[in-house]
């Protein structure tokens, strides 16, 4: 954490990247934007999180939006994927239903996400990070863990400086800002990056870890959602101090593997490494309807289009999956998830659809629905997929070939060049 009165504090100017150890503004350029911490030059695990990424990209590409509240999200029925900081002042948050966001901030400019643009920008940021360290674990398009251990000899600069330089480059070359959390493990780095947003640079050192955590609520822990929070509440655990009162064995007995993790995290301990290219675990897409849908044919039409999306992504990643999942959300926001294990892994939209459609048929009585989703999980390389034919479905092979041919036609002439009749429902 920064401390302006500190003695023996290392300081780093975030504008000119000078390091020094006196108090006050930067000795070299006079900037007030100085980060100070006793362990500043020793810590190596960082979390970088872009500030309101999608919204910032939109504002960058259309300066007229600069001073206006901007919300990235879809339609009346979708959810907010990103709100710019102006919209956040009105109380708009990510994942909030769109109608609520519009109510809170009627002036907001709502923009449909342009995922391919964001992905491009994300790749540019990734390239900058690749120059810093090989140990990068992206969590999404706009955030990543970085392990900079041992990079000081390579760059001749301490990790903190390398990180500050990344943020400078992002601002100068891409016109985007991001926040850095620097600490001694992933758990704390992630908390730190969120402490001083936007354009923040926060440090949690080993020395103050215990003090820092003590009165913080346990929901700071990534992965503690409403359900875990509830069972923690029942156990009287609200803050990290409450956690510290529990024996490791009692926590494990009560919360299983999560209990063990809680015990360690309460002590600021997290030994997860920064994993480059953490393997993808599932591929899924979902869509929220404009108006709730009961009609089976309409639902099947949506399901087919989702199966195609999932299949396209699987094919692009050269992956196949053994478990097909159908997700439905009812009018009353109740989520239903139904899954089926396939005998043979698949990446074909047709196979996925043929397994999910019967699952949908069973649930149609629970409608009307506001959302439908399709997914593939238990992934494997594509050469392990579709290896055994079906005696009772000799046409399956032909349909597979037809789908591959369709893919080739689309690759050449565009997605609308050819599609199945069921896509029109």
């Amino acid at each position: 954490m920064t401390d302006t009165l500190g003695v023996n504090m290392s300081a780093l100017c975030r504008d000119c990247l000078t390091t020094f150890d006196t108090t006050g503004r930067c000795l070299s350029c006079g900037s007030p934007r100085v980060v100070r911490h006793a362990e500043l030059l020793d810590l190596t695990i960082a979390h970088m999180d872009c500030d309101a990424f999608y919204a910032s990209v939109e504002k960058r590409d259309n300066p007229a939006l600069m001073d206006r509240p901007v919300i990235i999200g879809g339609g009346d029925r979708g959810v907010v994927s990103t709100a710019c900081y102006i919209a956040r002042i009105h109380g708009v948050k990510s994942a909030m239903p769109m109608f609520q966001a519009r109510k809170l901030c009627p002036d907001a400019v709502v923009i449909k996400p342009r995922m391919s643009v964001y992905a491009d920008v994300s790749r540019q940021i990734r390239q900058m990070m690749d120059e810093m360290t090989p140990a990068i674990e992206p969590l999404s398009l706009d955030e990543a863990f970085l392990d900079l251990s041992g990079t000081q000899t390579l760059h001749g600069l301490p990790p903190a400086v390398t990180l500050a330089r990344l943020i400078l480059r992002m601002r100068r070359e891409l016109g985007l800002t991001g926040s850095i959390g620097l600490s001694h493990n992933k758990f704390l780095a992630k908390i730190a990056s969120d402490m001083n947003k936007p354009h923040g640079f926060s440090v949690i050192g080993r020395a103050e870890t215990a003090d820092f955590l003590r009165d913080k609520p346990v929901r700071l822990i990534w992965g503690v959602g409403a359900a875990t929070q509830q069972s923690l509440d029942r156990a009287g655990i609200h803050t990290f101090a409450d956690l510290l009162r529990w024996d490791q064995s009692d926590l494990v007995a009560r919360f299983g593997a999560m209990g063990d993790r809680l015990w360690h995290l309460a002590r600021g301990m997290d030994n997860r490494t920064v994993q480059r290219n953490a393997p993808m675990k599932s591929i899924s897409n979902e869509t929220t309807f404009h108006t709730d849908i009961t009609d089976r044919d309409l639902l099947l039409g949506h399901l087919w289009r989702l199966c195609e999306k999932v299949s396209d992504r699987a094919k692009a990643k050269e992956l196949a999956g053994r478990v097909a999942t159908l997700k439905l959300k009812t009018k009353a926001f109740k989520t239903l998830t139904r899954r089926v294990t396939l005998r043979d892994a698949t990446q074909l939209a047709d196979t996925l659809y043929r397994h999910l459609a019967p699952l949908l048929d069973v649930e149609t009585t629970q409608g009307p629905f506001r959302l439908i989703g399709a997914g593939l999980s238990d992934l494997c390389p594509q050469d392990q997929a579709e290896r055994v034919g079906d005696l009772l479905d000799p046409m399956a092979h032909k349909r597979g070939q037809a789908e591959r041919a369709t893919d080739q036609i689309r690759a050449k002439f565009g997605t609308d060049a050819i599609f199945k009749g069921r896509a029109l429902r």
Binding site: V340, R343, D344, H355, P358, L359, C380, Q384, E386, R387, V388, G389, D390, L391, L392, D393, P394, H397
Partner: protein, 372 residues
């Protein structure tokens, strides 16, 4: 009700009952066995609403009557009683308890009223015939491995028992398939079986039926209707709903044009397949068969874990062929062969392969190849 019965007789009756009741069910009475005592017979009835089993046993009936008690608990008690014990069951309607006494052991079990016990509606059976236990045993034992567990194709979750036309006239035939494997087993048509409607006997019924078929000399009375099937010995009656669905037309998928013939000792083949499959790292355990003149090479090549190869002397006189299979499927069909050599009939590496025992066409197996 009060009756005395020999422990071994009781154990047999109760163990069949407890395997029919569902372990996890929400209707308490379905966990119970209905015990009815009359004349010199005690009958034990259990059901899961799809299957009903009634086991009649000789007993000394002191007072006729009926009650229901937890099948699993009663089974556990009887199982733990010493061999040769005489067990007395006494129903006390005042306390609603069933007392189980044997030697110095005494148990008192909660009961539920016999009136609550669901008795399966009787069916008008359109066909009745009798078949020796070994015949039914072969029909179901050799087909059941191919039963599907896929819920979406529920009509494959059983054995399709029906009358079919074979080369030598009509036969009683059992077919099961999961789309990857298929078993087609024929038996001589028993007297009176002509005109029997085809029914899909559910997996669980097949498992329960198996317990009736151990005695080689037993004649099994079979009754079939469109919706139910019944198998009965003099002491046990197993009644089951059949799967309400249409079994696919399997005759279309049985190849007639497979001409490449491999003959191999089934046991040697199975052992070799099992050995080479050891190094396979994937779940699918693919084994490649490379056939050349009188030579079969089994191989597994998995980039992650290693490779294995084994050569077998076989009878093969066609042009060379390479074809892959799931090792598990090969082992399953090879284990069905017990008298003669296994004969495989191949077409191409993408078409279903047929397997039979020698030239015996009364047991035919299909297996889909796997891309390797």
């Amino acid at each position: 009700m009060k009756l005395s019965i020999e422990r071994a007789t009781l154990l047999k009756a109760v163990s069949q009952a407890q395997s029919v009741v569902e372990r996890r069910n929400t209707i308490p009475i379905l966990a119970n066995v209905l015990i009815e005592a009359e004349g010199d017979t005690a009958s034990f009835r259990a059901t899961d609403l799809d299957i009903e089993v009634v086991d009649k046993a000789n007993a000394h009936i002191e007072r006729a009557g009926a009650t229901t008690v937890s099948a699993v608990t009663l089974h556990e008690i009887v199982r733990k009683l010493p061999d040769g014990a005489l067990v007395t069951l006494t129903d006390d309607s005042a306390t609603g308890r069933l007392t189980v006494e044997a030697g110095r052991s005494n148990f008192s079990l909660a009961t539920l009223p016999k009136e609550d016990f669901p008795v399966m509606a009787t069916s008008e059976y359109t066909a009745n015939f009798s078949a020796p236990a070994p015949v039914l045993r072969r029909l179901f034992d050799k087909s059941k491995f191919a039963i599907s567990t896929e819920e979406t194709r529920y009509y494959l979750n059983g054995v399709y028992m029906h009358v079919a036309d074979a080369d030598g006239g009509q036969v009683l035939r059992c077919v099961a398939t999961d789309g990857h494997r298929l078993a087609r087993i024929d038996a001589d048509l028993p007297d009176g079986a002509a005109g029997t409607p085809g029914v899909i006997v559910p997996r669980k019924t097949v498992a329960e039926l198996r317990k009736l078929l151990d005695d080689d000399d037993m004649q099994i009375a079979v009754s079939v209707s469109e919706t139910k099937v019944r198998f009965a010995t003099p002491s046990i009656t197993l009644t089951s709903k059949v799967i309400d669905g249409t079994f696919p037309d399997y005759t279309r998928v049985i190849p007639t044009g497979n001409t490449r013939r491999l003959e191999v000792d089934a046991n040697d083949f199975a052992k070799a397949v099992d050995r080479v499959a050891t190094v396979s790292s994937e779940r699918s355990r693919a084994v490649k068969l490379s056939l050349d003149e009188d030579r079969l090479v089994l191989s597994v090549n998995s980039p992650d874990s290693g490779a294995a190869e084994e050569e077998l002397a076989v009878a093969y006189a066609d042009e060379p062929l390479e074809i892959g299979f799931n090792a598990k499927y090969l082992l399953e069909i090879a284990s069905q062969v017990d008298r003669e050599n296994a004969v495989f009939m191949f077409n191409s590496s993408g078409d279903p392969t047929l397997m039979r025992e020698g030239n015996d066409t009364t047991a035919v197996y299909l297996v889909m190849p796997m891309r390797v």
